[in-house]
């Protein structure tokens, strides 16, 4: 079998070109593909469309690629913690499609599952519904939303094996399992890469079929946006 294992993010992203659509896992800075984002900066690819729940912060996460002006369009549900984003958005330099979080999750899930569109009650009667087909089921209105697929999908997992089976950790799972299904090429970076057979089949969150390239990441910063603690007794 042709190996899915690559050395690092740069090798994993071979073939990624200007103008492509990337679907990226993570919520805030939790569970984001840190190594791939750094490699994208070095690759200097431009005009990217990024589908990701958030846009990082000024100097971390996708904020890094906003800062270097490599992103043309973001499809996200919440982009609040990023001044670079705000500046580029207000000046019209950056195109933004805001999408309700549950709708975004389902659009990515649908895209990866071969479902071109679905009806949802979310956003009926709001700006989100503008220009979308409305259909009534059992007396309630729903709007038509479209599935999302990407040229590349970038995910971060806790453990993975050489076939691409993935296990996520705690809330770092978030969008990653759906994102993994939605790429023509899905790249998984993991904290620990093991041999096939070492992960318990019953514990796997993303089966390896969805993953085309995998590598063991390094130097994870795992930055925390809002460290909140309670006092010990």
């Amino acid at each position: 079998m042709k190996s899915k294992v690559v050395k690092n993010a740069t090798e994993a992203l071979v073939g990624l070109q200007d103008g492509m659509t990337l679907v990226v896992g993570g919520f805030g800075l939790c569970g984001i593909p840190e190594n791939c984002i750094t490699a994208l900066k070095e690759l200097k690819v431009k005009g990217l469309t990024c589908v990701s729940n958030n846009a990082g912060v000024d100097d971390f996460g996708l904020g890094i690629l906003l800062h270097s002006r490599q992103i043309k369009k973001m499809i996200s549900s919440y982009v609040g913690e990023n001044a670079t984003f705000e500046k580029q958005f207000m000046s019209g330099e950056l195109e933004v499609e805001l999408c309700p979080q549950g709708t975004l999750a389902e659009r990515i899930r649908a895209g990866g599952a071969g479902i071109p569109g679905f009806y949802t009650p979310t956003g009926v009667g709001t700006k989100v519904a503008e220009g979308k087909e409305v259909k009534v089921f059992d007396g309630r209105e729903y709007i038509l939303e479209k599935g999302i697929k990407g040229d590349f999908a970038l995910v971060k997992a806790w453990k993975g094996d050489k076939f691409g089976n993935l296990i996520f950790r705690k809330t770092a799972r978030n969008f990653n399992p759906m994102v993994a299904t939605a790429g023509k090429i899905t790249v998984a970076e993991v904290e620990e890469l093991v041999e096939v057979g070492q992960l318990p089949p019953d514990q796997i969150h993303t089966p390896g079929i969805f993953v085309q390239k995998i590598f063991q990441g390094q130097g994870y910063e795992k930055r925390i946006e809002q460290k909140t603690v309670r006092k010990g007794s």
């Binding site: 919520f27 800075l29 309700p100 549950g102 009667g125 700006k127 989100v128 705690k170 809330t171 799972r173």
Partner: protein, 218 residues
């Protein structure tokens, strides 16, 4: 005197019933968790993929892989589970969450809510709010009754872009507890030092006073 943030959160905690699964929004709604009686068996849902939010961690328990929807570090409660965002919104949109509490800039007499966008200002996004108001079994709004200039935020019709239509069940404002009914707003409780008449004057939308209207207790 209008209620403080803490009093508002404390009053809303009375709305949480034993056995409920609850999603609390950012801001005052998050504070509600501090006042839910430990006798009540409640699971708090976080839309980034955790059912069973525990208290904030001790310094040595902080885990970057364990955050709530406000991106704060948290812990897991006993019986907690983790899942993907798609599963999380299956819970929310699918009507499995008993109650959501969120903030609002405006609510109107038909139960429409606006809480995500002010035209001309930086738009941060709706996050999960549109899904929550569309899917939770019960929607309670925690809000200020008036803006800084004293204009009512309980409107005849929302003027800001909507988050959801006809979805709010109850409002707990800093002045009172108000239900949204087919007949418009119904005042159920008023804050200490307020009167129903004063609240009526500070409400733009159609409001009636419940025959059982009483002073709020905490």
């Amino acid at each position: 005197m209008p209620l403080t943030r803490e009093q508002l959160a404390k009053r809303i905690s009375q709305e949480v019933e034993d056995g409920f699964v609850v999603n609390l929004g950012i801001g005052i709604p998050t504070l509600v968790a501090n006042y839910i009686s430990p006798e009540k068996n409640v699971m708090l849902q976080s839309e980034n993929g955790l059912l069973g939010i525990g208290p904030f961690p001790l310094e040595n328990e902080v885990d970057a892989d364990l955050i709530n929807a406000g991106k704060q570090t948290v812990t897991e409660a006993s019986g907690a589970s983790y899942f993907s965002s798609a599963d999380s919104f299956a819970m929310i949109r699918g009507g499995h969450v008993d109650l959501t509490v969120l903030g609002a800039m405006e609510v109107d007499e038909k139960g429409d809510i606006a809480n995500w966008m002010v035209p001309g200002k930086m738009v941060k996004g709706m996050g999960g709010a549109m899904d929550l108001v569309a899917g939770a079994k019960r929607v309670i709004v925690a809000m200020q009754h008036t803006d800084k200039e004293g204009n009512s935020k309980l409107r005849k019709a929302c003027t800001l872009p909507l988050t959801g239509k006809a979805c709010v069940n109850r409002i707990v404002s800093d002045l009172g507890v108000i239900d949204v009914t087919p007949q418009g707003f119904v005042l159920l409780e008023y804050a200490p030092d307020m009167t129903p008449e004063k609240i009526m004057k500070l409400t733009e939308g159609r409001m009636t006073i419940s025959p059982h209207c009483k002073m709020m207790t905490f």
